[in-house]
Subunit: 348 residues, 3 copies
Amino acid sequence: MSGPAGYRLGELAERCGGEVVGDAGVVISQVAPLHRAGPREIGFVSRAAFREQLTGTRAGAVIIPPELRERCGIPRIVTADPYACFARVSALLNPPAPVVPGVHPTALIDEGASVAPGARVGAGARIGRGASIGDATLVAEGCSVGEDVRIGAGCRLHPGVVIYPGCVLGDRVVAHAGAVIGADGFGFAPSKQGWIKIPQIGRVVIGDNVEIGANTTIDRGTMDDTVIEEGVILDNQIQVGHNCRIGAFTAIAGCAGIAGSTRIGKRCLIGGAAMIGGHLEIADDVVISGASAVPGTVDKAGQYTSIYPLAPHREWLRTTAQVKQIEKLAERVRQLEQKLADIEGSEQ
Amino acid sequence: MSGPAGYRLGELAERCGGEVVGDAGVVISQVAPLHRAGPREIGFVSRAAFREQLTGTRAGAVIIPPELRERCGIPRIVTADPYACFARVSALLNPPAPVVPGVHPTALIDEGASVAPGARVGAGARIGRGASIGDATLVAEGCSVGEDVRIGAGCRLHPGVVIYPGCVLGDRVVAHAGAVIGADGFGFAPSKQGWIKIPQIGRVVIGDNVEIGANTTIDRGTMDDTVIEEGVILDNQIQVGHNCRIGAFTAIAGCAGIAGSTRIGKRCLIGGAAMIGGHLEIADDVVISGASAVPGTVDKAGQYTSIYPLAPHREWLRTTAQVKQIEKLAERVRQLEQKLADIEGSEQ
Amino acid sequence: MSGPAGYRLGELAERCGGEVVGDAGVVISQVAPLHRAGPREIGFVSRAAFREQLTGTRAGAVIIPPELRERCGIPRIVTADPYACFARVSALLNPPAPVVPGVHPTALIDEGASVAPGARVGAGARIGRGASIGDATLVAEGCSVGEDVRIGAGCRLHPGVVIYPGCVLGDRVVAHAGAVIGADGFGFAPSKQGWIKIPQIGRVVIGDNVEIGANTTIDRGTMDDTVIEEGVILDNQIQVGHNCRIGAFTAIAGCAGIAGSTRIGKRCLIGGAAMIGGHLEIADDVVISGASAVPGTVDKAGQYTSIYPLAPHREWLRTTAQVKQIEKLAERVRQLEQKLADIEGSEQ
């Protein structure tokens, strides 16, 4: 007995996983942080260590880990992974607005383009010759889809996304506003007459269930394709250079840059503003800390970091002056060791 | 007796502050750098230390600090803050183009949207259902304003700005081309089936007098709002993650990134390309140097820096090799200290 | 005897430089990496050290350096600079789509704007009053060209490019999707009432043969112009601040940021995500490594770097703890030196 106005807790657990303890009939219509959740809202505690978040909450229900099963007086879903359960519950309560099929009268569908009957093309969007748009896909206002682009089903291109000719998107791909997919890679040969542009004749090929953040750019390949495998999530303002391959389920946070021809493995976590050089290999399951620079290949799983320590400016000046002299410092230590060895030798 | 062609120096001082020394009747029509200013132009010297900028200038007038009052032979405005005075004078001489009210015939105003009679909506712009646009606000060509967005009076959205549904802008907010406000925050829960997207149901709420640079992105909150307080100025290509709060009058330079759920205080200065981690607190009046990474909370005002020293590449290679060995170097120093202590002990 | 379907190898060498060894009549229709090139495709080996790339190739021809002249059994172009020759060959085989002259019926050409008969203006693009578009220039769909902008001949503005009023582009300038040229520089004077915006009345002036990447931003000058000299190539997501000058033929890789009023010399190579501070001078022929921060002037050609070494996270924690203590370490070494000098003194 639930409706658009909400779901009973039992239904949420059934659909999202977990065991209900307490009143399974309480109706929940939204998620909220526990400190301000009301009686029709559900919050979560991701780990037992955060149990104090439960104190004084007025939430109608809560999602908790097994350790807190008996530490909680309100209706609850007990699950080994409260965060994933919360994500599923919130997705159920907040489905994306449905895609209303149709082509806006001001949209431009070039000859030879194909738009599935269940797709929507917004105002002023342009679908190039030979392009195809899958079922239930939204191409919002002001998007530009180039010639021969293939876009799968259930995708959402937010306003102003540009897809250059020939690129391929799988199913359920989301691209946020201002994302640019398939612009020319940065390929130029030096010559005495200046830079000679190398035509970028590869494509960008994007797998299913990929999310691409606002103003993120993914360049087309020089001769081969740039590939984003299934389930990759890219935050805003990311640059992916030509010929890169990003492995399945890798997550890259905002402002990161991946230079050309680099291959990143599967299930990697690349922190915000991390900068990864070109022509490298990053193994599966590598974690790069935010703001770290990666100038060489990383061939083993694990977390890697390269951040110079933050300090009050005057302290930084002093520390940095010493760092610049570290080679001399090491030499002085070597001389000390030598002298001490001499002294020890002469004493024997 | 001034007109569109200029202002007398006396009028400029009256409106912008400062005391006139010399001919208050000279007519000034534009600002210019002193080295190339002509007789109808005004320049400035920000500090007494830069007094040589006055040498040989042909400017009609100049704005100077009190220390230079008698070091200058041309008509002048003397003020304790020449730079602010110059800013006011230039703003007076270069007012923004007036907003000509009207909705372009190719603009799309959805049902239930409200556009103030004094506002302008440019060609091909779209105003979503339930959105409201305040008086004397410009929404330039190609902008997309989502459902239920509220935009105050006197704002300027340059071409191609995208505001996602539900976001709120105060009065006199400027957003430059390509800015994206309210895209989904980067919230995903890991699971065995891949990343589960967490709906981002918060908004972006922007105070009065905020300036947002070209291609800057500000993500909507997960459950609560992302908040930009009044008077904040953001340069180009900045990323502000979900749930952040940026305190009033804070300035952030280009390419900086603020990861999610971080709170930055009031009147902070964040340098270009600074990268601030997530879930941090930055106190009021903190200055972060350009290109610095901030991985932890900064709870005290002052300037902070984290830049590895730039060096010729070969020198960098040698220095860096030593830095990587610094733990061993410290151990060698410890051993030397021990040996010396032994020697000193045996000598006693 | 070549046609749209390809060129004979002899013709390629005639047009692109180099000497043919072997059958000059083989017809080549595309470039490809040697490992997958077929009989109508041509690959290249940039340096003799990479000669193993020739092993087993089925390419119809190859471009090689003189050292490999006799190490290769297939038809070949021998040239001192295989990479530049390859670029020319690929450009010949992959010419950009021709610009079909015409103004799309949904484009908006303001009164007083001038569009050359050979230019193309795409759907929904807007050309402001007084602007001029040169011959054979493409302004793609959704672009915004401001008042009084001057764009030369043979340029390509990809979808959604925004050029603010008054800016100037030379001939054969390429701007990729989402690039923003001429937004206000980040100029504000602090005051007790908050930031006072300084009108940015300079322009952006771009020379011939400049390429500008997707979502790159170049700000207009405060009083003087921001200048990009001829032949400069800018990758994606770059920020160029107001009043900068970038010297001819300089290349800047993705995500780099150049703060305001900095002058970069000619033929520099600025690596990806490099961050260059404001009011600096970078000499001609300087190379800045990717991810390096440049806080001061660089007055001598050469390569410069500032990257903190990447390490496994736990190792990084230990190294960094020592770096923070380096001043104390240096002091301990000084004390050791003193003690040893004392011991040596007492022994004499």
